[in-house]
Symmetry: C2
Subunit: 271 residues, 2 copies
């Protein structure tokens, strides 16, 4: 598959890259249809916020134009951008004149079973907890060992995703998705100020729901609140929305708010 | 400088490496003198523990023999081993038949001012807190954004190291060192069960102190305990021991326990 490093085809990377040494960088995983990136403005916005918070000096115009060219070359599939602080010497101190590196990788469109979107998924209750680190919360950075450990907790195909709590037992997200709860017509999603990844589909769904008069609330959600929810669903920027139909002993119906937003997500992703 | 990937000279790395994608791996930074790695058994021991806890299938005999060959080729300097889970496809799930990758990089011996060891150092009080994640605590893994952020907090040469607390305001470590406190003849060092890197020099000094009849205690240490300490020092596997002489408004003398252990560390590192 297609790989570009700093705008040119390449399959290899300097071993001095700080993305490898320290996970010193960010990434974005973008749905591409007919050569066009989906939710593109939101991906660029999150990347810019990540760069600001990590002190990564990146040229947003260059990233944008390069991504657009890459998507045209890709056609249909998934474009992953990894943006690192570039090469460094030994030691944590970021180089004064760091040259951020852009790595673009193409993947085929993931072949999730259609049943996940249609009938909903069963969530695996992960034992791995997310540590609370406000300085990194919300960012899609390259320090992802918690997700690696969580995803290694189950191997069966029965569970499409895993539910992750933080170390204070709050509900946060899926391993590669954000979570929404519908209760009495209100759309709730966990606060991500201490940990978690603020997904672009999450941001877009909050905005779309507000446009349609659905009340949205972002707040801490305890695990004990889930059984009483009317609807539960997951989202991300590739598959859109999967209803959650089961978690341990609890079952939820696939409800009308989920179906309405799922249809909106389909249009956004053109899938 | 010398670089080997999987035992052969190379300057580049597959862009599919999970060390880059997720920080899915470990590292060791080893002092090398006259072609010999120092504290070698402890480095290998920590690496093996990290492999076990991350579920990384690595051949310890191969790592050991390759490191020994690399150190001979290097002569004098620093050998850094990065061990990753190797190539992966998109997605957090570790590949079933993952092929861990060994990356060996040489660096020249760091030229720290002699005054750091002789007169001691001033610590910078970092604002970046270490998140509490027992599943990763103690390991020298590749998710090091907290250290990158902390090390970016100061730029002056007056501060040789920074002090890091955890999110509950306990004293944990330096950015690239472990910390010891001497109080009433007892050698104290912070518990690293929730966060922090369990340094090989820390482990060796605890063992050496016990051999010499010094009482050692590993426990939680509050920031408020530091002003009352008799001596404070930092250690790591490259520089040995640096006395801490100042932190904010506090000053400490360079005391006898520090000097005794410093001499032991010098012998261990042959420096």
């Amino acid at each position: 598959m297609l790989v570009w490093v700093d705008g040119s085809p390449a399959a290899a990377l300097s071993v001095k890259d700080r993305g490898l040494a320290y996970g010193d960088g960010l990434f974005e995983t973008i749905a591409v249809k007919n050569g066009q990136p989906r939710l593109f403005a939101r991906h660029l916005e999150r990347l810019a916020e990540g760069c600001a918070r990590l002190g990564l000096a990146c040229d947003p115009g260059l990233v944008r134009s390069e991504l657009l060219r890459f998507c045209v070359a890709l056609g249909d599939g998934v474009a992953k951008l990894i943006l690192t602080r570039g090469d460094g010497l030994r030691g944590y101190a970021p180089p004064v004149a760091a040259q951020p590196r852009r790595i673009l990788q193409a993947s085929p469109w993931p072949d999730y079973p259609a049943a996940y979107a249609e009938q909903g998924v069963r969530l695996f209750p992960c034992q791995t907890r997310l540590a609370e680190q406000p300085l990194l919360a919300g960012l899609k950075h390259l320090n992802r060992l918690e997700q690696v450990l969580a995803r290694a907790e189950w191997h069966d195909a029965e569970h499409a995703e895993g539910l992750m709590l933080d170390t204070s037992e709050r509900v946060i997200e899926g391993v590669y998705s954000n979570l929404f709860v519908v209760k009495d017509g209100v759309l709730l999603t966990p606060e991500l100020a201490r940990c978690g990844v603020a997904g672009v589909m999450r941001a877009e769904l909050l905005a779309q729901a507000q446009l349609r008069g659905i009340v949205t609330v972002v707040r801490d959600i305890g695990y004990a609140e889930l059984p009483g929810a009317d609807e539960l669903f997951l989202c991300n920027s590739l598959y859109g929305i999967w209803p959650v139909r089961a978690l341990q002993d609890h079952d939820w119906p696939v409800g009308p708010v989920t179906r309405k937003l799922q249809s909106i997500a389909r249009d956004l992703l053109d899938c």
